[in-house]
């Protein structure tokens, strides 16, 4: 009898050890709440490293001296009123403290330009400091700022070798009011993008959180969200986003701290949308000529098939790409295209890849 009683007691204890996923009363133990708790925990770990940055610009001066810069490819409506959509929106952006004495990473797009009058950083506690823009890397879209600081909480980055497509990432930034935290989540979309310069994620990236911190589910700092601009075809919150990972940040940090500028590698650019791989077509088929590009200015049209470029015969897009790579920005080239059974000769000046 006593043994039966003990067995019953044991059984009672043991049954209490089942995992709790109650279907009736939805308490805080449901799987979604647990996932959310993991997100909250991760973001909490890095909250204090995230700052808000106000970049005050002189609106009467142009942002860059180069007025010939290629315009972005936008939708139809935007092309009707380009001023409205090319314009950088007003409002603060995000940045990350990376040292106790006040070095800050943000995206280069945020602090790009010759018309910046003042950069003010708002710390998580509300205090405001003036920041100096030091150097930047136009290829990884990262810039370094400096505020006067001491013992500041700061991010320490982790290598990203453990990341795989499908892993959660969280992007942390500061909101329009400079104090509230913004959090966007997603997964790693691909680990090797932009010629090794970036890791791709599907979290929503926009003007507000560019320059923000990308962390993994454990709250480890992986890199800086960037490559968002009014000129990026990826637009805002499209789910195609990039961040510069720790390895790329570390590479050029010493130089950027000293104020060095690592300019964009100037790659020659035509300005067309290719039709790769369609084999029934002899030559390189141009599906679409992008507006305001060297191709457009040379008079190329949608549907043209490039058959000769800079003196070389073109049989497909691979050969055209090879020939383009041999040119340099600014070079004048002649090319031949097939258009409605006629061969048309065009004169083109190679542009710069945006």
């Amino acid at each position: 009898m006593r043994n039966v009683f003990l067995l019953l007691v044991a059984a009672a204890f043991l049954s209490g050890a089942q995992p709790l996923y109650s279907q009736e009363e939805v308490g805080a133990d449901n799987p979604m709440s647990r996932l959310q708790e993991a997100f909250r925990n991760a973001a909490d770990k890095v909250e204090n490293f995230v700052v808000s940055i106000d970049v005050e610009r002189d609106a009467s001066k142009p942002e860059t001296a180069d007025e010939e810069a290629p315009k972005p490819v936008l939708g139809r409506e935007a092309q009707k009123r380009p001023g409205k959509y090319y314009r950088r929106p007003k409002g603060p952006v995000s940045g990350i403290l990376i040292s106790a004495d006040g070095y800050i990473y943000t995206s280069w797009y945020n602090v790009r330009g010759d018309n910046i009058e003042r950069i003010m950083v708002t710390l998580p506690d509300g205090s405001r400091l003036k920041a100096q823009r030091l150097g930047w890397d136009e290829n990884t879209d990262i810039a370094v700022l400096k505020v006067d600081g001491k013992d500041m909480p700061h991010a320490e980055f982790t290598a990203t070798d453990h990341l795989k497509p499908g892993h959660f990432v969280i992007v942390v930034g500061r909101g329009d009011d400079r104090l509230s935290l913004t959090v966007n989540s997603g997964i790693v979309s691909a680990v090797n993008r932009l010629e090794g310069r970036a890791i791709q994620i599907d979290a929503a990236l926009n003007y507000g959180n560019t320059g923000g911190l990308v962390i993994d589910i454990d709250g480890k700092a992986l890199g800086i969200a960037c490559h968002v601009s009014d000129r990026a075809v990826t637009g805002q919150n499209s789910g195609v986003g990039f961040f510069t990972p720790q390895s790329k940040l570390a590479e050029n940090l010493p130089l950027m701290k000293k104020g060095a500028v690592i300019p964009k590698e100037k790659k020659p650019f035509l300005g067309v949308q290719a039709s790769d791989g369609a084999k029934d077509i002899e030559g390189a088929e141009v599906v679409r000529v992008l507006p305001n590009t060297p191709a457009a200015e040379a008079g190329m049209q949608d549907g043209d098939i490039v058959v000769e470029f800079n003196g070389s015969k073109i049989i497909d897009w691979d050969s055209l790409r090879e020939e383009i790579a041999k040119t340099i920005v600014g070079q004048a080239v002649k090319l031949k295209v097939k258009r409605a059974d006629k061969i048309v000769e065009l004169d083109l000046t190679m542009g710069e890849k945006p």
Binding site: A17, D29, P165, E195, G239, Q273, D276, D280
Partner: protein, 428 residues
């Protein structure tokens, strides 16, 4: 002895409880588990991805059958595609077997020289539950162009059996899909293909995803694959419709689709439909309104034999119908005059003679510049009522390049008036 029993009892209590506690409290551990399983799934399916350059595709059999969108691959019957493997990806030649220009599907065969290629199975899309997780593989904005390793995005199945944008029975997902994802797979947590991503809805001036992606379901694709399994020469295949059957346009109809008009001597009349019938089922699918009727029928190839259940005078009846061909195809055939006025769309007949629906708007054409979008239904062209593709062809034929034409379209329930400036076709 009693002591030993006590020790065992204590252990029996502590061990399971601590196991359970460890499981409950560690939310991060839970999330890590979830993400590991997701990453494993992604690693399993990614090798079956096919990169078409401007679009995506997926391999569905070990001998290399590839599915993609017609608007990605339709314009050439031979392709060089790439799959992940090596720094620049692995190249394959692919040959077009057949293309469904109305349903926006193209099926190709990889030339694998007898080698097996990675592939994924096709799920039963009628068993999809809304709220399921899904991943999309693709090359949005040409991101996979360097090594053909696909871009992965994650979301849920937002809705199923939606009739929108020219896709009659679409799966809607909030997994981010963008230009370049077209033709690529939407995959469930078992690693099976749910559908082919082909369209997005945008709401800002940028052509980027805003949370609605539409995919063509596998069951529709499977029907066509079965019917056309002997077609290997790249021909266009056709969808089915019931000619002469006019349904009342009442989306809120609770009982079924009401037959409003039957054309004399039509397929509908010969099959036995009568005015006043309320269609409640097509094969195993429930029909709740005319939108769904066209949605279901739109998943079958021409000549398919369907069982239609309806209510007549309170009694249930079943009719057998064999589908007619649903007219479709490009606005003008390949032999057209390059100097003729040209719009730049691929359209198909809207059932019910209701107009002409745009399957596709070719970029940088007069239609594109005027603001037309896939899914629009043209109801009026240059003041003339448009009921079917012939009406448009005739109306266009009377115009010249440079003419400005007012066009009325229906979009998401709204009527818009657009002005199109016609251009010469050129070699498009």
């Amino acid at each position: 002895m009693a002591k030993r029993l006590l020790i065992v009892l204590i252990l029996a209590v502590i061990l399971p409880c601590s196991a359970a506690l460890a499981q409950e409290d560690d939310a991060t551990g839970f999330a890590r588990d979830v993400q590991k399983q997701l990453a494993d799934l992604v690693a399993k399916v990614s090798p079956a991805f096919v990169n078409f350059g401007g679009g995506s595709g997926i391999v569905v059999s070990p001998d290399g059958l590839v599915i993609t969108n017609n608007h990605v691959a339709g314009r050439s019957n031979n392709w060089t595609v790439r799959m992940p493997g090596g720094p620049n990806g692995k190249r394959f030649t692919a040959k077009m077997l057949w293309k469904d220009t109305t349903g926006d599907i193209a099926v190709l065969q990889l030339e694998t020289n007898g080698e097996k290629v990675p592939y994924i199975d096709m799920a039963d899309s009628d068993k999809i539950r809304v709220g399921e997780f899904a991943v999309a593989l693709g090359t949005p904005f040409m991101t996979a162009n360097e090594d053909s390793v696909p871009t992965v995005s994650f979301g849920i199945v937002s809705a199923i059996h939606t009739n929108r944008g020219g896709y009659s029975d679409a799966i809607q997902t909030d997994a981010p899909v963008n230009p370049g994802n077209s033709g690529g797979p939407l995959i469930n947590m078992k690693g099976e293909l749910l559908g082919i991503n082909g369209q997005i809805r945008v709401r800002f001036p940028y052509r980027v995803n805003t949370g609605i992606g539409l995919a063509i379901p596998t069951n529709q694709i499977k029907r066509f694959m079965e019917t056309y399994k002997e077609v290997k020469d790249g021909s266009v295949v056709y969808h089915g419709m019931v000619n002469g059957l006019d349904l009342k346009k009442e989306p809120a109809c609770a009982k079924g689709a009401l037959v409003e008009k039957i054309k004399k001597d039509s397929t509908a009349e010969k099959a036995g439909f009568k005015v006043g019938d309320i269609i409640t089922k097509v094969n195993e699918y429930d029909i709740y309104n005319y939108v769904r009727f066209h949605g279901v029928v739109g998943t079958y190839p021409e000549k398919s034999a369907l069982q239609v259940t309806l209510l007549r005078d309170g009694e249930e009846k079943t009719l057998a119908v064999t589908l007619d061909r649903r007219g479709g195809g490009r606005a003008s055939q390949v032999k057209s005059n390059p100097k003729a006025a040209f719009l730049g769309v691929v359209f198909s007949q809207v059932p019910n003679n209701d107009g002409v629906e745009l399957q596709q708007v070719v970029p940088n054409t007069p239609a594109d510049k005027a603001g037309m979008k896939a899914g629009d239904i043209i109801t009026e062209f240059d003041g003339k009522k448009i009921e079917n593709p012939d009406d448009i062809r005739k109306a266009l034929g009377e115009k010249k390049p440079g003419d400005k034409v007012k066009v009325k379209v229906q979009r998401d329930g709204e009527t818009l008036e657009l002005e199109v400036e016609l251009e010469a076709r050129g070699n498009r």
